[in-house]
Every structure is written in C-alpha cells, then in structure tokens.
Amino acid sequence: MSAIHCHQLCKTFRQGDEIITGLDHVDISIEEGEFVCLSGPSGSGKTTLLNAIGGLDTPDSGEIRMGDIRIDQLERGPLADMRLHHIGFVFQAYNLIPVLTAQENVEFVMQVQGIPAAERSRKARDILREVGLEGMEDRRPAQLSGGQQQRVAVARAIVSHPDLVLADEPTANLDSVASTHLMGLFSELNENHKITFVIATHDKRVMSYARRLIKMQDGKIISDEAQ
C-alpha cells in the first residue's frame, strides 16, 4: 500500500506581506520498495514535500495518494493513525523524548501502537542492537552522542516495519563515519524489509546510496533520475 502519487501539489507560505513558494505544481510517483533521495539547496521545498506526504501539513492544492488513500483529504484522527501504523519519521533534530531511555523511546511508540509488553521489549532490544546501540539501551538522550541519538530515532521509526520511512536530513548532524553507518542501515532495511525510503538531503555521500535522485529547486522538481 506504500506507493505514493503526488499530483500538482502546491503550497505557499505567508510571512508578513511576503508570499513564499514551498511547492510549485509538484508531480511525483514513488513505487513500493524504492529508495529515493530528494536533493536541492536549502529552501528548495524538500521538507515541505516530506511533510505533505506524511500528512503533517496539507497542500493548498493538488492530490497526494498513498495506495488508495487520499492523504490530503484525511481528517486529523485517521491521519495520525496512518502515521502511527504505516509511516516512520526521522527528523533532522532527532526529537527523542528526553526523560526516556533509548529502550523506552523505542518502546513508547510501540505501546501506542498496541504491541504487548513482552514483544515490545524484545523488539526494541533487537532493533537497538541492529542500529549498533547494544549496551546503551538504558541511556537517556543526553547521555548519547548526536549520531547515537539519530540511531535511536531511526530505531524508533523502523521498529514496527512501517511501509514508508520519511527522513529529513538524517545525516545533517552526523560525522562521516556515522553517516556512512546510517546509510548502510537504511539500504539494508530497504533491501531486506522492502521498506520504502524517501530521504531529503543535500549531502553528496547520502545521494550516492540512492537508486533514484530527485532534484528540487524553488519548490519545483528540476530533475528525476535513476542511478
């Protein structure tokens, strides 16, 4: 159900008297299991597009479908459920819950998803091992490095195997070793679990992992190439 189709998406922002273009008639189709990078300079509309796809923001006009569902027309409640059960988000600023440990941060979303306690605990432990955080389960975000926090955020996003992962500049705060490690993990999840990835970045190394590269500028798609 994770194929995404965007049709003539437009979004503008008003800042004082100024009208800023976020998305300008964007058409895009992403099939199940793809690994797509959105690139482009800062302000080109990458985040705006990810937010629209994830239902965090509604476009001014145009359509977004995920499978048969019109994301842009869903009510708040079903939209939240959609995100909870089908979409994993990785934010640029990690956005972990500071009072919870790595393990608890991962479990929290699973509890909301309704996964039983024993299964939750086991899955969280497994995924943290998979992202290379074995032994750090009981640390709180403040006791982890930026790269480690980002890996917790990734673990939280992928632990329940969503259909789609939307990652916004996931390596912006990581050094090159951590970036490489994270991208390796994404590729592996994409291949082994058929999770669709859409990653916004202006990091050249990240783009090299993508099998499809979409370039944006001023809210428009200026190129869309397989590589």
């Binding site: 965090l56 923001d57 909301v112």
Partner: protein, 410 residues
C-alpha cells in the same frame, strides 16, 4: 517495561522537581488540614449532640402520638411508671425514666413566676439526664420524699429562694381540676442552658401525679442509649415491644430536638465554604503547574503527534501526570493528617478560654477529633477531584497543537 506512559508521566513530573513539590506541598497541606478539621468537626458534632441530648431530651422518647405537636396535659400515657419498668426489664437497659410535665405559677414570699414543672423518677432520672448532676446548691430529689422541689438557678434568683425555702405552686390538673401544692426547695441546678435554668423545676413523679390528679399517667418515657450509634437499633427493638399507634409514638432525638440538626448543618455549610476556598487554591496551583508544563513541552508534544499520537492520547498523559501528583499529595496528606488527628483524638486538645466555657456549660474541657473513614477521605477526595478537573484545561490546549508548528517551537 510494563507501561512506558506511566514511566513517562512519572519522570515528567520530576523534570521541574521544585515546582512539582510546591504543588504537592499545597496538596499535602490542605489534605492534612482537611482531615484534621473535618475529624474535629465530626467530633464536636458528636459532642454537641451528646451534650444537648444528655441535658434533657434523651435519645428516644415514648410519648402520646399528639404530644409532640400539642404538648397538652391530656395527651398522656397511662401507667407510665409500670411501662417504664417493663421497658427497663425487656431491653435490659436501666437508663430509662418516666416523666410527667405540667405548667404552674410558682410563688415565693416575694414574687411569682411561671414554670414548667416536671414529675421525675428520681432514681432513674440521673441515668437519662445530666441535670440532676448539675445541682450546684443543696441536693437532688430524694426518691422517697414528697413535697421537695429542685429548680433552675435563674428561676431561684428571680424568685429569691434557695435551699430550705418554701414555694407554692398553682396549676391545672389532668382532669382540668385545680392543682396546688406547697414544696420545699432542696436544690438549685445550673445547666448553662438558659431555658432550663430560667423555667424548669422537678418534683418526684408520685407526688406530681397526686397533685395533678394524673391517675398514673405521665407524658414521656425518656431513653438514653449507651451510644448514639445504637439509637436506630434501639428504636427498632422498642417498636417491636410497643408498636406505635394513634396513642403512642416513638420519637427519635431528631424530632425531639429539631434545632440540633439545623445548627450542625449551618455549621457545616460555613465550614465547607472555607474548605472550598482551600480546594480552589489547590486546583489553581495544579492548573498553573500543568499549564506551564504543557507549554514548555510543546516541541515534544509536536513530535509525538508527528509520530502518530492522537491529541486525546497526549491529554491522557497530562491527566496521568496530574493523577500521579495528586496521589502523592493524597497519600502523604492523609497519612500526616491521620497521624496528627489520631494523636489529638487520644490526648485531646483545647484552645485558650475553652476550659472556662467547659466548666460553665458542662462541656468536656478538651476537644476530641473523631477519625472515621469519611473524615479521612472526604476532604482529600474532593481535593483530588478538583485537581483532576483543573488539569482539563491544560490538557485541552493539546487539541490546538499542529505537529509541525509545535515541533518548530523552542
């Protein structure tokens, strides 16, 4: 991890430990105070009821069915002495005493005053009433004697008589005949109850029945239960022995002293007004704490919404935090309140000036709060409900959040 939400709520509370403790402290303070004052209130009501009922009316009275509304000579019960004797035997309770009541004009050498004259069973009267024990000059009635009278202190002053002086009284008897007697004052009582001290006198029942031509009749059988909690059971027992009829009514103290409940209710109303102020203050403190805590965490709540949590889920988290905070305040407040109240319910306590009042009005010279499940939980329970209600407003703020805007907040 059994419940991450619970862990999350608990740790969130201690992010601003001092602020949380201040709020919990306000709860502990008001819960302790409420437990103590409500227990004290209940204790003093018990005392008030006991003292009032012990002075004169007793817990239960058997009367002619019409006597309560129209206290007339002719609404009397036959063979009253024998009936009282039977009841004492059947119930195995000695604090049961028969009375007859009449009105008369009493004259000393100098003056005349109207008074209520009571014929009492001088042997059993001290078991149902504290009046016989409050004779301050002279002595109480001798059960065997005739032509003796004890009178209230104000009446004695008005009539200018004391023990040893003679009084003449005139009234009308049971059969509307003329009733008159000459008696010697043997004692003067001082109850502190103005009505009794001003206008009451007691003579022996036998003598009364003779003078007022009662033919064995009397007006009430007064019963004092061992404890006020036994009254209802006792009433039930009595009504099986002596079923109520159009001639006989079994009266609960509530009917005999209608002002008492009202006085207690009036006192409760004014006390609850003060409690309410306290509860509202605690509720506002909770409101403030939770509102600040929600506003500070806008970004976190935005993230949670972006991850797919419904606003209702976040609202529940805030309510859970309040519930945890309230539970701590409830547990500590009740414990502390219980300890203090329990201690004072054993040693009692008094405030300056209380002892003088106590001597004057025949009250115990110390107050004893009465701990009960209700007095322990009523106040704190309402504080808890008030606190939870107060956190509804901060919780509803979450419904206004939009995830991306919230995530952009500092």
């Amino acid at each position: 991890m059994a419940d991450v939400s619970l862990v999350l709520a608990w740790r969130n509370l201690w992010r601003h430990g001092r602020r949380t403790w201040l709020t919990i402290g306000a709860m502990i303070f008001s819960n302790t105070l409420l437990v103590f004052s409500i227990s004290l209130q209940f204790g003093s009501y018990d005392m008030m009821i006991d003292n009032t009922l012990q002075a004169y009316s007793g817990h239960i009275q058997l009367q002619h069915a019409r006597y309560l509304d129209e206290p007339k000579m002719r609404y009397a019960l036959p063979d009253i002495d024998a009936s009282a004797q039977t009841l004492r035997k059947e119930l195995g309770l000695s604090s049961i005493s028969a009375r007859a009541v009449g009105f008369a004009l009493a004259s000393s050498h100098e003056r005349s005053y109207g008074l209520q004259i009571l014929g009492v069973d001088a042997e059993h009267e001290p078991l149902v009433s504290t009046l016989p024990g409050l004779v301050k000059q002279g002595r109480y009635l001798d059960p065997a004697a005739v032509e003796e009278i004890v009178i209230g202190s104000v009446l004695a002053r008005n009539l200018k008589v004391g023990p040893g002086d003679e009084l003449t009284f005139l009234g009308s008897g049971f059969d509307d005949s003329f009733a008159a007697g000459v008696v010697t004052v043997v004692g003067v009582f001082e109850s502190g109850v103005a009505d009794l001290d001003r206008s009451m006198a007691q003579v022996n029942l036998g003598y009364f029945q003779e003078i007022f031509a009662m033919q064995g009749h009397g007006h009430s059988i007064v019963i004092r239960a061992a404890h006020i909690d036994d009254v209802d059971q006792l009433m039930a027992d009595i009504s099986t022995l002596k079923p109520a009829s159009d001639k006989l009514a079994i009266r609960h103290w509530d009917e005999l002293q209608p002002g008492l409940r009202q006085a207690i209710q009036a006192d409760m109303t004014s006390a609850w007004f003060m409690y309410l102020v306290l509860i509202v203050l605690v509720a506002f403190s909770v409101l403030n704490t939770q509102l600040m805590s929600v506003l500070e965490r806008t970004r976190e709540f935005g993230t949670m919404m972006a991850l797919g949590l419904q606003p209702s889920r976040l609202a529940r988290l805030v309510m859970l935090e309040t519930a945890l905070m309230t539970s701590v305040g409830l547990a500590l407040g009740i414990t502390l309140g219980c300890l203090i109240t329990w201690y004072l319910s054993h040693v009692g306590f008094s405030y300056p000036g209380m002892e003088e009042m106590a001597v004057k009005f025949n009250l115990p010279d110390r107050m004893y709060p009465a701990i009960s499940p209700v007095s322990l939980t009523l106040g704190p329970g309402i504080v808890a409900i008030g606190s939870l209600l107060a956190s509804i407003y901060p919780a509803t703020r979450l419904y206004l959040l939009l995830p991306i805007e919230a995530m952009r907040a500092a």
